[in-house]
């Protein structure tokens, strides 16, 4: 299962990298969000996939899953959510103000 997950992470990273390297801003944002999912999967895989019951009170399990990666994951998802949203808003504004979403034209000149 871990191997499969690692392959999936690799696929997500590949797609994400491809999208980030394109010119359109929207694709870049989609790319970052896909890489973000890859990273989240990597964290949960690296922490070890399910080996015991859910780490909740009131359940009579002998072993519990390590809850730390899940806590990390939740935090990472929230932060990812916030930055992606901010990035979207900003690039929308940039598109309105600058009139382009082509990164080639966003490069800017030296003297301005």
């Amino acid at each position: 299962m871990e191997t499969l997950m690692c392959l999936l992470v690799g696929v997500l990273f590949t797609i994400g990298t491809y999208l980030i390297l394109t010119k359109s801003l929207l694709r870049i944002i989609l790319g970052t969000s896909i890489v973000g999912h890859g990273v989240n999967l990597l964290i949960i895989t690296m922490g070890g996939l399910k080996k015991g019951g859910p780490p909740l009170l009131g359940l009579k399990n002998l072993t519990y899953t390590d809850s730390l990666p899940q806590a990390l994951l939740l935090t990472a998802i929230v932060i990812n959510f916030a930055t992606t949203a901010l990035f979207l808003v900003l690039s929308y504004r940039a598109y309105i103000v600058l009139g382009t979403d082509d990164t080639e034209q966003l490069r800017g000149k030296e003297d301005e």
């Binding site: 909740l56 808003v89 929308y92 309105i96």
Partner: protein, 141 residues
């Protein structure tokens, strides 16, 4: 602006929004011992409001819910942090939580925990942030 005329989504939304609100509150309450909690409850709550945005337009909803959602988020974070500060008064580490059992008139023996206060803060912060984001993208034309 042209008046939208989506009978189906309007009639569905009127029922669905109430159900989502209830479910959000359920998620929030159950978060103390079971899956759920302030974050997911807040998101569900925000999704109901977003459904309202989609069904009726943003102006109508804002007229009926005259809140600045940035302030909601700020109040949420303040509540969350201040519950942590509360533990400074009792000389225990910051963010310490405690709980106790109380006999309430209607509910009988009930567990009340300070973690819920923290969670209310989280929920408000999530609702405020999510709606601020949606509105700052959607409001602009």
């Amino acid at each position: 602006m042209k008046e939208p005329n989506d009978i189906i989504i309007r009639s569905v939304a009127k029922v669905a929004v109430v159900i989502i609100f209830t479910f959000a509150i359920n998620l929030f309450i159950s978060g103390h011992h079971y899956p759920g909690g302030g974050f997911i409850g807040g998101l569900a709550f925000a999704s109901a409001v977003i459904l309202l945005f989609l069904t009726f337009d943003i102006e109508t909803v804002r007229k009926n819910i005259p809140l600045d959602f940035k302030v909601v988020a700020a109040i949420g974070v303040l509540i969350a942090v201040l519950t942590g500060v509360g533990s400074l008064l009792f000389d225990v580490p910051f963010l310490s939580q405690s709980f106790g059992y109380f006999n309430l008139p209607v509910f009988g023996k009930t567990e009340l925990a300070t973690a819920v206060l923290f969670d209310i803060g989280v929920a408000l912060a999530v609702i405020g942030t999510a709606l601020t984001i949606i509105m700052s993208i959607g409001d602009d034309r």
